[in-house]
């Protein structure tokens, strides 16, 4: 009897041990599969293993009893030798199982792959978006054993450049190659305003049946628009009052008072290149009652803006130009985002524009509180083309921005979203008469007199991208695109440097009105050039400035645009000496100098070495230096000429 009890107790202990040995690894494997699975199918498979084990558990005691009895029967039935063989086989099985189970842990590669999140944004919003996306990745890591679940890749492009690519589903066009020129196809687009999204919708509306865009329906590939932040257009600067006067309840009222003062100054980014600039332009093209001003007044105000603004495509470049000089703007219309970032010493973006170490220009005033004006409503745009996995990541980022991530908005210069904004039409953040404002601006702008000097040195024969030809042929394409924007009253001339064989001057086509014949002559002359030889950059710049200043009335914008892919190789003058000459010529004749630097040419200062970078010349010439990879020269040139023909 005692033997029976002892034997029964032994069996109970043995049962518990066998139970643990068999059940726990199986359940553990199921749990591991559930945890490590990267998609719902694998999670389901893991759950089924756990379910199978659970079902098994319900009858585990009976099973263990049966198993032990079975083993005992077999054990007694076989010979001593067979028992040794069975024991050996069992050891081998356990060892093999250990290898299979343990090996995956030994080869642990750490975190599972992150989901790539391609985020397209505006050049002005690049830094803020990158900071927000980085914080989101860290947030996902904190909740996941330090492993981020997403890898955000943020990149920027102008709406003018991306709108047609988005409408074409990011497919190649005749001359456009979005994957090469713009970057990956985005999973999310964070432009500054719904005004940008309208551009895409309008392109699509021209090609799609009406019913696909009727009643505010979003046509594919647009899927969902969610406002995630806001940023008011503000009036800021050293000449701006700290608190708005009682009778100025609108931004345009504030601006009207400012412009009524003697010798007014007002800086604004280009309305045709920048959405923030366009909304800012509503501030000076409306009166205190928010009505569009008279065309004569618009022209007058436009001239004030032109005189006070260093040429800049966007507000980051606009403020960077002031940052370089160390001089605060008297008055600037800009988004509160960019202004706040500047004051906080955060990077603004833009070529050669470094973050100010300390808050610059204190004290300067910002007048926006309680004043009615346009607002950037920062939409978060999702697309129909996004795959299921990326869609989940995009949703997660959007929800975080709308929820817990909201506390980081102020850190990057943004305010909380306006929930009443976000609609493409009838949006209270966007002035209703935006199209009329733009038309008024275009009427008010001055015609241009522009000389373009194209580098035709030997290095321009270097290849550019797949099947795109040489740097020079790409530049020629840029000239053709720029000429497409030429107005009937605009004047244009073309030089190439060095002088081609058989020519005694750099002139290919003299400055003349933009008739179809003149355009044809310009393109024909440029295509006949065979690039070779040295780079007389400085001599060309000085001669070009003199040439442009020799004609045209004072009200006309006059500019020299130079495209170069390298440094000067012939002049005995230093860059600083040339900059001094440029300053003199530009001040005397009000001719602006713009440079498009590609290849080895550099706009920005080489860190630690003051007095380098072609921006020295363009700063002296009150113009802009734009860096462009060889493949992006046509787009950069087209954007610059849009600004020039608009009289800026």
């Amino acid at each position: 009897m005692a033997d029976d009890e002892s034997r029964s107790g032994k069996y109970r202990r043995l049962r518990v041990i066998v139970f643990a040995l068999v059940a726990l690894p199986i359940a553990g494997l199921g749990e591991l599969l559930k945890k490590q699975a990267s998609n719902s199918w694998l999670v389901l498979a893991g759950a089924m293993v756990v379910a199978a084990v659970s079902l098994w558990f319900t009858d585990i005691r009976r099973f263990v009893d049966w198993l032990l009895e079975w083993v005992e029967e077999r054990y007694r039935a076989v010979s001593r030798r067979a028992r040794w063989i069975a024991a050996g086989v069992l050891v081998l099985l356990v060892a093999a199982t250990a290898v299979v189970v343990v090996r995956p842990f030994g080869d642990d590669d750490g975190c599972p792959p992150t989901t790539e999140l391609r985020i397209l944004t505006s050049p002005e919003g690049f830094q803020a978006t990158r900071e927000l996306a980085g914080e989101y990745a860290r947030t996902t890591a904190r909740a996941n054993d330090g492993c981020p679940t997403v890898f955000p890749f943020v990149y920027a492009a102008d709406t003018s450049a991306v709108s047609s690519a988005l409408a074409r589903q990011w497919a190649d066009g005749k001359t456009e190659h979005p994957y090469v020129d713009l970057g990956p196809r985005p999973d999310a687009w964070l432009p500054d305003s719904t005004v940008d999204v309208r551009q895409v919708r309008d392109i699509l509306a021209r090609t799609l049946p009406d019913d696909l865009t009727a009643n505010g329906r979003l046509p594919a590939p647009l899927k969902l628009i969610t406002p995630i932040a806001s940023s008011s257009i503000v009036l800021a600067g050293s000449a701006v009052p700290a608190t708005p006067p009682d009778d100025a309840a609108t931004l345009s009222g504030l601006v009207s008072r400012l412009l009524a003062k003697p010798k007014p100054s007002l800086s604004v980014a280009d309305p045709e290149s920048s959405t923030a600039g366009l909304l800012a332009a509503t501030g000076y093209l409306h009166d205190a009652q928010n009505r569009l001003v008279d065309p004569a007044v618009a022209r007058q105000r436009q001239q004030i803006v032109l005189a006070s603004t260093a040429s800049a495509d966007d507000e980051a470049s606009l403020l960077c130009a002031y940052l370089r000089t160390g001089r605060a703007p008297a008055a600037v219309l800009t988004s509160s985002r960019t202004w706040q970032r500047l004051l906080k010493g955060r990077t603004l973006g833009g070529t050669g524009c470094r973050a100010p170490v300390n808050a610059p220009w204190a004290p300067t005033s910002l007048t926006s509180e309680g004043v009615e004006g346009p607002v950037l409503d920062h939409p978060f745009v999702q697309f129909t083309w996004t795959s299921s996995r990326h869609n989940r990541a995009v949703d997660g980022f959007r929800d975080w921005l709308r929820g817990a991530g909201g506390r980081y908005l102020a850190e990057v210069g943004l305010a909380k979203p306006r929930n009443d904004c976000g609609a493409l039409d009838k949006n209270p953040c966007v002035p209703e008469d935006l199209a009329a404002t733009l038309e008024l601006y275009q009427q008010a702008k001055l015609s241009g007199r522009v000389l373009l000097a194209v580098d035709a040195s030997g290095s321009m024969t270097e290849g550019v991208g797949s099947g795109k030809g040489t740097r020079f042929t790409v530049a020629t394409q840029g000239v053709v695109e720029a000429l497409g924007q030429l107005g009937p009253h605009d004047e244009f001339g073309l030089w190439s440097f060095p002088n081609a064989r058989g020519r005694s001057s750099p002139q290919l086509a003299g400055i003349a009105a933009g008739s179809p014949q003149h355009r044809k002559a310009v393109v024909g002359a440029l295509r006949s050039v065979d690039p070779a030889g040295v780079t007389p950059l400085y001599a060309t710049i000085l001669a070009g400035l003199r040439e442009v200043s020799g004609g045209g009335d004072a009200k006309r914008i006059r500019a020299l645009v130079v495209l170069t892919d390298g440094e000067d190789t012939t002049s005995s003058l230093s860059l600083q000496q040339v900059a001094r000459e440029v300053r003199k010529l530009s001040a005397a004749s009000d001719v602006r100098l713009h440079v498009i630097a590609t290849g080895d040419a550099r706009c920005e200062e080489i860190p630690g070495r003051e007095g380098t970078g072609l921006h020295l010349l363009t700063d002296a010439g009150k113009g802009e230096c734009l860096s462009a990879s060889p493949g992006k020269v046509p787009r950069t040139m087209a954007q610059l000429f849009t600004t020039l023909w608009s009289g800026r």
Partner: protein, 425 residues
């Protein structure tokens, strides 16, 4: 038997069978059994920077020989960051529509681990490839790709610098600088290497560390070994080399902190420095353009440390519907004849040994023997599926160290160890 079937074993078996069926269906949805078939093969790649677009030339040749499975280059941006983002996103998407990826050598582990690419058949003959680039195609005991073109750092020097004046190690020491200045008194610095905050900083810092017999990661022990004298000495020497000693110009141009490959080349071309670390492609770039240079030559980087290996590898996408043809295409593009074309006509460093011994190639690319020697000593960057994160953290640490006399931040080991596993602090 009846007891067996009605008991717990039956329940367990039922559950497991359901799991197996689910997994099989999932497998069929994800990867239909590969069957040989025709159809276009898409190669996802960055822009072709070779002279005369030799990659397209090779694809055209393939298409003539294989009209049933023509290939097409789908070209992405020149920026490797943008290439990486699009390739990873495409691989993760529901319908990647890619048959072959042209991957940077540092991405093989990531793509293999994540299941974006297929291991190649064991039948592939890899005997003709140089060891170093071939090894960048291997991960976890399998061959995942074939090396398309390789890259390795070279020392570019002015011909006015005598062989005796060339430094025995990098960065040059004050005596080396003295000898360089004796040959050219107008030098602003002895040596230039890219130290801007990008992958070039990882490359330059690793080479400085290796030159001092240090390392960042011990692959055998799977250990970050950055807290060592070799690493501290390497970074300290690099930081110190940017300062003037005894009224001599600095050994390393301090402006290198803002230099990439192109700006380093410009400084060398302007004669501001006598020595430059750059990739082989700079050889052709210096010899062309409006100020072609001929008074320079190249050598392997001095010292025993070796140089960082670069280059691209061709891998077959997991989602391809025609893996056999895709692998055949990869083998064609990396064949001896193709590699000869890429190097001889396009200037892309070949991955096959025999190309460097070809007299015709040597005539057109006289630096071929030097390049081959450098490749033999080339070393890979740390192999991890999380290389992009690792490299960005390493760059932050090196930047911090260079600003602090070469001293590492206290949390360097922790951050790098976590980054190797894909974690962030």
């Amino acid at each position: 038997m009846k007891r067996l079937l009605s008991g717990p074993v039956a329940w367990f078996t039922l559950g497991v069978l359901a799991m197996v069926v689910t997994a099989s269906v999932r497998s069929l949805i994800d990867q239909p059994p590969p069957q040989p078939q025709g159809g276009e093969l898409v190669i996802l790649t960055g822009e072709d920077e070779s002279t005369g677009k030799q990659r397209q030339v090779l694809v055209n040749k393939w298409n003539l020989e294989n009209p049933d499975t023509p290939a097409r280059l789908e070209v992405l941006s020149r920026s490797s960051d943008e290439q990486h983002s699009e390739m990873v996103a495409r691989a993760q998407s529901d319908s990647p529509n890619v048959d072959v990826y042209n991957l940077d050598v540092t991405w093989t582990a990531e793509f293999a681990t994540a299941g974006y690419i297929r291991a190649l058949d064991e039948s592939v003959d890899v005997s003709g490839f140089l060891d170093a680039p071939r090894k960048t195609c291997e991960y976890d005991g399998k061959l995942w790709a074939l090396p398309f073109n390789t890259d390795v750092g070279l020392l570019f020097y002015r011909k006015g610098v005598s062989q005796n004046a060339l430094p025995a190690t990098l960065p040059p020491d004050p005596n080396d600088v003295r000898a360089l200045v004796a040959a050219n008194p107008n030098l602003k610095a002895g040596f230039v290497t890219p130290l801007d905050h990008y992958e070039g900083l990882t490359v330059s810092a690793l080479e400085a560390i290796w030159a001092e017999d240090g390392d960042v990661y011990d692959a055998e022990k799977d250990l970050v070994v950055v807290d060592s004298d070799g690493v501290r000495n390497g970074l300290k020497k690099l930081a110190d080399a940017m300062k003037s000693v005894d009224s001599l110009p600095p050994a390393v141009d301090p402006q290198s902190r803002g230099f990439r490959e192109d700006t380093s080349r410009a400084a060398f071309q302007r004669g501001e420095v006598a020595l430059m670390r750059n990739w082989p492609v700079a050889y052709g770039q210096l010899r062309t353009g409006d100020r072609p240079m001929t008074d320079f030559d190249v050598a392997p980087l001095p010292g025993e440390g070796g140089s960082v290996l670069g280059g691209q590898n061709l891998a077959v996408a997991t989602g391809t519907k025609n893996p056999q043809a895709a692998q055949k295409l990869v083998e064609f593009l990396t064949s001896e004849e193709s590699e000869r074309t890429l190097f001889r006509d396009g200037g892309l460093a070949a991955t096959r040994t025999v190309v460097y011994d070809d007299p015709q190639v040597r005539q057109l690319r006289p630096y071929a023997p030097v390049l081959k020697d450098a490749l033999v000593k080339g070393k890979s960057r740390p192999v991890t599926p999380h290389y992009a994160l690792f490299s960005s953290i390493f760059q932050d640490i090196v930047t911090n160290a260079l600003e602090n006399g070469g001293n590492l931040p206290p949390d360097a080991v922790t951050r790098l160890t976590k980054a190797l596993r894909g974690q962030v602090v």
